[in-house]
Structure formats: structure tokens, C-alpha cells
Symmetry: C2
């Protein structure tokens, strides 16, 4: 049982997504996910704290990348431009995962508790980008407002990217930032 | 029992806030609120659907006012300026209620479920303002982004106003809008 299983995490993730889609999130148990993946429950819990983490596991990494991306933007960049640069950079990690992202979104859209969880993620994204701006010396209130506008940009761009078949996510980020600038 | 009670709604609200503050929201029952106000439970339910509505009852009116305020802004106003005008106008209804607003905020801050409810209110504010912008002919994506930035402005301004003793809420709205514009 303790033996190494090739790509156990990927297999568990695939099995979980298939079951969430077929039966719904609430109707799926960890035992069923493990069985579908041909692995044990113990192996599941080596990779995921619970069945929700299969959907939200990548968040910490994304938050770190956003903070770092804001900090690393050119010194001359205005706050919103620093956020735009960080979002475009982070967007690249999604681009070969559009089908998976669509499947995940459908699971979340079908479940109010998961939608709630997804909304709190947006506050976390804004906080991560605001931290990056404050590190750049931006005043805290400006940092917070700009980061929240940036989180709204990312959410809109992400929805447009999911619905689209041609452009990459960074394209929609740039377009939303331009839209926001035009509103002032 | 069916007789008219002078300012029953105000007495119930005061009694509820006092009990939420003393005991906490979860530990307070409608029966206790009615008793403290010298009224019956039946009277309570004539004014409020449940004990949570004492805290969130004014929301529909605020949403309508925001949509109308955005629509009524001068034709020449850019989307963010239309939102700023609507927020400043809506701000006026809060200005003689700072103490009550502080008391309410303390009750909400002490209760995670109420915080959650308060967060969903922010999405509703954004949606109401976006509706107003769309009525003005603003493109839907721009409307949504600007309205979400406006909701972030209102939230920040409200917190600053609660912490402050001199300026009115509209002052903090104007300042936050200026901060946001400076970030671009």
C-alpha cells in the first residue's frame, strides 16, 4: 500500500473531476474517488486535505505568484499596470488547461457552497495583489482599491476566456484593464 | 394585541441591537427582542422577516437609490464619475446614523455568518450600480468593472467613516475615487 504510484495525484484529480461532473460534488465520496483512480483513500489524503481541495488546491501558489508579479513589475509602472503585468504573467499557467478549467467551473456553478468558496478566493486574490503594491511603496488605501479592481478584472477576463475558443487569458486581462481605464 | 404601537419598528430595532451587542447575535431570540421592546413576537414579525433582517433590512432601498443615482448623473459624466455621484448621494442617508452603524458593524464583525452575508451585499451593490451604467449605454463589461471598483470604493470609504469623527461619508467616497484614479 505504501508503494509509489505513478502520477497518483493526477489520477486522483481526474477521477474526482469525473465523479463531481457525473454525480455532483456532494454526492461523491473520497472512497469513490480513490476507487475510480485505482488507489487507496490513504493515498488520496496524502495529496489532498479533503475533496474540496481537489478544486481549490492551486490557490496558494497563484496568490504567491501574484504578489511576486506585482513586486517585480518595472519601477515606472503605475499601480494598475503593475497589477495588469502580474495578472498577465499568472494567466500563462492557465492556458493549456482551458478544458479542465471549464469542467471545474461547471462543478462549482452547480453547488452554492462551492460558489461561496470561490467568492472568498476573489478577496484572497485582491489581498495578495495589495500586498505586492504595498511592498512597492503604494499607499495602503490606493493599494487596496487598485487590487480589488484588479481582482474584478481577473474574474471578468477568466469568464470571457472560459467562454472563448481562440484568445489566451492574458488577452482578456489586457482588454479588461483597458476597459477599466476607459471608464474614468 | 392588534393595537397600534407608537414607533414599534424603531423600538424593536433598538431592543434588537442592544441584545445583539450584550449577548451576541446567535444568543438572542425574537421573543427576547419583543420582550425588551415591550411588544409581542407577532408585532416583530410584522416588521421583520427574521432577526437578521434587523441588520440588513435597508438594503433594497439602498440598491434602488444607487441604480437611480447612476442613471440620474449628468450625461457628460464618465462611468466612474456617475458611480461616484450616486455613492455620494446615497452617503447622505448614513450621516446622522454613525453611532448606529458602528454598533451594527461590531455585531457583524463578531459573527462569521453575518460577515458572509455582508460580503454578498457588496456584490449586490456592484450589480445595482452596473445596472445603472448599462441604462446609460455603457458597455456591459465596462459597467461591471467600474461598478465593482465603485463597490470597493464604498466599502473602504464606509470603514474610514466609521473610524472617523469629523468628515461625512461623501468626503471619504470622493477621496477613495481620487485614490483609485491616481492608480492608473
Amino acid at each position: 500500500m505504501g508503494r509509489w504510484e505513478p502520477d497518483a495525484q493526477g489520477r486522483l484529480q481526474q477521477a474526482a473531476m469525473a465523479l463531481y461532473t457525473e454525480r455532483g460534488f456532494d454526492q461523491t465520496t473520497v472512497a469513490e474517488i480513490a476507487e475510480r483512480a485505482g488507489l487507496t483513500e490513504r493515498t488520496f489524503f496524502r495529496y489532498f486535505a479533503d475533496k474540496r481541495e481537489v478544486l481549490f488546491g492551486g490557490q496558494r501558489q497563484l496568490l504567491e505568484q501574484l504578489t511576486n508579479g506585482v513586486v517585480a513589475a518595472p519601477d515606472s509602472a503605475a499601480p494598475l499596470d503593475a497589477i495588469s503585468a502580474a495578472l498577465q504573467e499568472a494567466a500563462a499557467i492557465f492556458d493549456d488547461r482551458r478544458d479542465g478549467a471549464r469542467e471545474r467551473q461547471a462543478v462549482i456553478d452547480a453547488n452554492p457552497a462551492l460558489q461561496e468558496r470561490e467568492r472568498t478566493k476573489r478577496f484572497a486574490l485582491a489581498a495578495a495583489m495589495a500586498d505586492g503594491l504595498v511592498s512597492r511603496g503604494v499607499a495602503e488605501t490606493t493599494a487596496r482599491l487598485t487590487a480589488e479592481a484588479g481582482a474584478a478584472v481577473f474574474q471578468l477576463a477568466f469568464e470571457q476566456w472560459l467562454a472563448d475558443g481562440t484568445h489566451d487569458l492574458a488577452y482578456f486581462v489586457r482588454r479588461a484593464v483597458a476597459d477599466l481605464k476607459a471608464s474614468l
